[in-house]
């Protein structure tokens, strides 16, 4: 596994080659039509002017020359081509890239390219160094929390705003602790920006949480029931995990869009965040894969490492899905058990009431109380089952869908080596993260099981003398 730790090479700015775009354009548009996404609104218009300059950090001037042809191709567009711009080149250059970008619909619509002035590369370099240093220990001093979901507005236009709090000592941020309010579509917008920039060059961009029309509608409509609170909590936790995963990635952490997301009080409204569902992603992955296969440029299929990795991830995906299904079944049964225990508790209480032997009657009431407490326990355990175990697994299944795609990335000969290096490094990083993640979460989960058992012991120990007291 080629997990080199050196920073991605700041290669020479390669002149873009526009001729190849002709074919790519066709491919691109055909994919566009099948994906039926509507073009996004002109983002650049809403970007405040200052931000453009602040965000246009880059290690070197990006050789981004917008051409009329390309503007047609890439509709409306702004996207800073900052950071690691040589790796960004492919988006502008080689033919295959349009086929690649359809992986996420937003890249399809707006792999936004923007000509910009490069300024303050120095600051950027420093922060990059900082991160690179810490990357070796894989610990970045940055903590993200997502909290305080708050409903804003009424009716169908209502939305939930979440507080995103960042605590960090990294110098690339202006403060060491700050928080902003973000809504779900902002997160999706962030993801689509990151994906459009990094996915096709071989980085594993953590997927954003799923959209849910049903869940959100309930919240909008103001249903204050337990299922909508559950939904909001589930979403909050997922958003938190999403951000935590994203900032763990050394390259993504340097991304100005990410910084803007975390820091700025006002964020341009992200539109066109539809269809980022798991199913949607899978469909896109498959389409991209098909498109790639159609291409005449078949790169290094015999590359043993890629083949092996692909197989590995296939297997892993299968296994994780199976495990996920079993855990979901457990969550379901545990909830059922909780409900049935509660029902039994009530019934036992009734039975205790009608029992005319005093001591037995009392013991039965006690039994009912114990069972009620146990029901609570089951509920909490189901909660843990879900949030710790099941969600972890579904996150990873989606992540692996992205990774599987990575392995399929075929690029123009020129860039293949580069991307391949990146991919290898990414995969290495991913596997390391995965191991850590799984271990941590599973251990936490087991600890929750320990707690449950300890509680059970307490309850039954309290009940035993009551039962013995039946005379």
């Amino acid at each position: 596994m080629a997990a080199e730790r050196e920073p991605p090479p700041l290669g020479d700015a390669k002149p873009t080659d526009f001729e190849e775009l002709e074919d790519g354009e066709d491919l691109f548009t055909s994919t566009v039509s099948t994906l039926e996404s509507s073009p996004s609104s002109p983002e650049p218009a809403s970007l405040p002017a200052e931000d453009v300059s602040t965000n246009s950090n880059g290690p070197k001037p990006a050789e981004v020359v917008l051409d009329d042809d390309r503007e047609d191709l890439f509709a409306e567009a702004t996207e800073e081509v900052s950071l690691d711009s040589p790796e960004r080149e492919p988006i502008l250059s080689s033919e295959p890239s349009p086929a690649v970008t359809p992986v996420t619909p937003t890249t399809l619509i707006a792999p936004r390219i923007e000509s910009k002035s490069m300024s303050a590369p120095v600051i950027f370099d420093r922060s990059r160094e900082e991160i690179e240093e810490e990357a070796n220990g894989d610990v970045f001093d940055i903590e993200i929390g997502v909290s305080d979901p708050e409903k804003v507005g009424d009716g169908m236009n209502a939305y939930m705003a979440y507080r995103v709090t960042t605590k960090t000592s990294l110098s690339m941020f202006s403060k060491s602790e700050f928080s902003v309010k973000r809504r779900f579509s902002d997160f999706l917008g962030l993801h689509s920006k990151l994906a459009s920039k990094y996915l096709h060059v071989g980085y594993i961009v953590p997927p954003a949480p799923e959209k849910s029309i049903v869940g959100m509608t309930k919240v909008k409509v103001g249903k204050e029931d337990s299922s909508s609170t559950e939904f909001v909590e589930k979403r909050r936790a997922a958003l938190e995990r999403y951000l935590q995963r994203t900032v763990k990635h050394p390259t993504l952490l340097q991304d100005p869009d990410l910084r803007q997301f975390l820091e700025s009080s006002e964020l341009p409204r992200a539109v066109n965040t539809q269809a980022l569902s798991g199913a949607g992603i899978l469909r896109m992955v498959n389409k991209a894969a098909d498109a790639v296969n159609k291409m005449t440029i078949k790169m290094n299929e015999s590359d043993a490492w890629f083949e092996e990795k692909q197989q590995q991830f296939e297997n892993l995906d299968q296994q994780l899905r199976k495990l996920h299904a079993s855990v979901e079944a457990l969550v379901c049964h545990r909830k059922e058990l909780s409900a049935n225990t509660a029902a039994f508790a009530k019934s036992a209480a009734m039975l205790g009431n009608s029992e005319d032997h005093t001591a037995l009657s009392r013991a039965l009431s006690q039994l009912a109380e114990v069972e009620e407490k146990i029901d609570q326990l089951h509920q909490e355990q189901a909660f843990a089952d879900f949030y710790m175990f099941s969600e972890l697994l579904s996150d990873y299944i989606r992540l692996i869908a992205a990774v599987k795609w990575e392995a399929k990335v075929q690029q123009g000969e020129r860039d293949f080596e580069q991307i391949s290096k990146t991919i290898r490094k990414e995969v290495g990083r991913f596997e390391k993260e995965r191991v850590k993640d799984f271990k941590t979460v599973i251990i936490k989960y087991l600890e929750s099981l320990v707690q449950t058992q300890q509680q059970l012991i307490k309850y039954w120990e309290a009940f035993l003398p009551e039962a013995k007291a039946i005379a």
Partner: protein, 418 residues
């Protein structure tokens, strides 16, 4: 499947169960223990020493030890099937002399359908799972089958023991025939006509029951008992059903642990990173913890669900007793009225007098024995609940502690590794 339900639990049978959940844990004696104060005295001891499950039927070996002169030998065995137990039970119910007793409830029909179906489904799905998974599930289902089998044996046994312990019923001739006659009793399953007759009889009975229960009782004791039993029976029915559902969800959750364990195992063996050892350890944990959870579910089933089910049937039998007493009261009152009429008309007075006398005697006899029966019922019930609730709590504690230990050990290893 052969099984010994008595104290001697054959070693051969336990063999295959080592890796599977031990459903009856310490309760070798099954439901017999429910009726605590059954004095098994030397005069008459009955148990089911062996049982054999064939396609559609279960053959119970009923074993008797007795010093009573009624029997030809001191110790003997016969083979009986479920229908013959029912025949015996029904003969008690139909016997007017026993109207004043709580007739021990008949054992439920052995029902392996669900279990058999599951085993069959497993066989069909063999291709779709790993060998390891298949073996695990097969063992589990076999253990389940065995547990159901043991339970049905226990329930048939407790019926016989109740009869043997009852001072009057133990002397019943049909009972002795049942115990001793070593040929088939030829009580083939009721044919259609008889079933229909039964149906009508029950209909009349319940219609009667409505009328009769409207009659308020002069006797405070019986009035109280009637109110109590009606309510109690309904609530026990509800509690029994809910307890059943609860234990079944518990079992489903335990089964999920099984699948999770298998998936983790698969992840642990296919992975090349060092997380593989981790997965394998956790998989092992899930396997072990699942066994404990399955036992918890089985113990709850035995100590709680079965207890409630049994008292559901017994409280029904007690209700039936009250019904019979009410019936005889109505007869008595009718005989009184008839006597008054006869005296008024001065016609058939002697006949009416005799009839009235008989009804009176019958009613008083029933009332007297019913009172004692109902008091005994309460004593039995309280003792049984006490025993089972204590044992339930003790088992829950045992399992929770075992589980806790397992989890803590595993965590220690996992944390030590990382």
């Amino acid at each position: 499947v052969r099984a010994c339900a008595g104290p001697r639990l054959g070693a051969a049978m336990m063999e295959g169960l080592d890796d599977g959940p031990d459903f009856l844990s310490e309760e070798d004696r099954g439901l017999k223990a429910i009726n605590v104060d059954l004095q098994s005295d030397a005069a008459l001891q009955v148990d089911i020493s062996d049982a054999l499950s064939e396609r559609d039927k279960v053959k119970f070996t009923v074993h008797t030890k007795s010093s009573l002169p009624n029997f030809k030998q001191n110790e003997f065995s016969v083979v009986r099937q479920h229908e013959e137990f029912i025949w015996l039970h029904d003969s008690f119910v139909e016997n007017e002399d026993y109207a004043g007793y709580i007739i021990p409830p008949a054992p439920p029909r052995p029902d392996f359908d669900a279990s058999r179906e599951k085993l069959q489904k497993l066989g069909e799905g063999e291709g779709s799972m790993t060998k390891e998974e298949f073996t695990k599930m097969k063992q589990e289902l076999e253990a389940e089958y065995l547990a159901i089998f043991k339970k049905t044996v226990a329930m048939h046994e407790v019926f016989l023991c109740r009869v043997a312990a009852h001072p009057i019923l133990r002397k019943d001739l049909n009972f002795h025939v049942f115990l001793e006659y070593n040929q088939d009793l030829s009580v083939r399953g009721k044919n259609k006509k008889e079933k229909l007759e039964d149906f009508f009889k029950n209909m009349v009975k319940s219609a009667d029951g409505v009328i009769v229960s409207g009659v308020k009782d002069v006797d405070d004791f019986f009035e109280h008992e009637r109110t109590f039993l009606l309510e109690y029976h309904n609530r026990v029915k509800d509690a029994s059903a809910k307890s059943d559902r609860m234990t079944r969800s518990h079992k489903s959750a335990a089964d999920d642990y099984n699948r999770i364990g298998s998936s983790l195992y698969a992840l642990g063996t296919q992975d090349s990173t060092d997380i593989c050892k981790f997965f394998l350890k956790v998989s092992e944990l899930f396997d072990k913890t699942r066994k404990i959870e399955a036992r918890v579910s089985a113990d709850e089933d035995l100590k709680l669900s079965d207890l409630l089910k049994y008292y559901l049937r017994e409280s029904q039998a007690a209700k039936d007793l009250l019904y019979r007493r009410s019936r005889s009261l109505v007869d008595y009152e009718n005989a009184n009225k008839a006597l008054d009429k006869a005296r008024a008309k001065n016609k058939d007075v002697l006949q009416a007098e005799t009839s009235q006398q008989l009804c009176c005697q019958k009613f008083e006899k029933i009332s007297e024995s019913a009172k004692q029966e109902l008091i005994d019922f309460k004593t039995r019930r309280v003792a049984a609940f006490r025993k089972n609730l204590v044992e339930l709590a003790e088992l829950e504690l045992k399992h929770a502690k075992g589980n806790l230990q397992l989890l803590q050990n595993c965590l220690a290893v996992l944390n030590g590794d990382t």
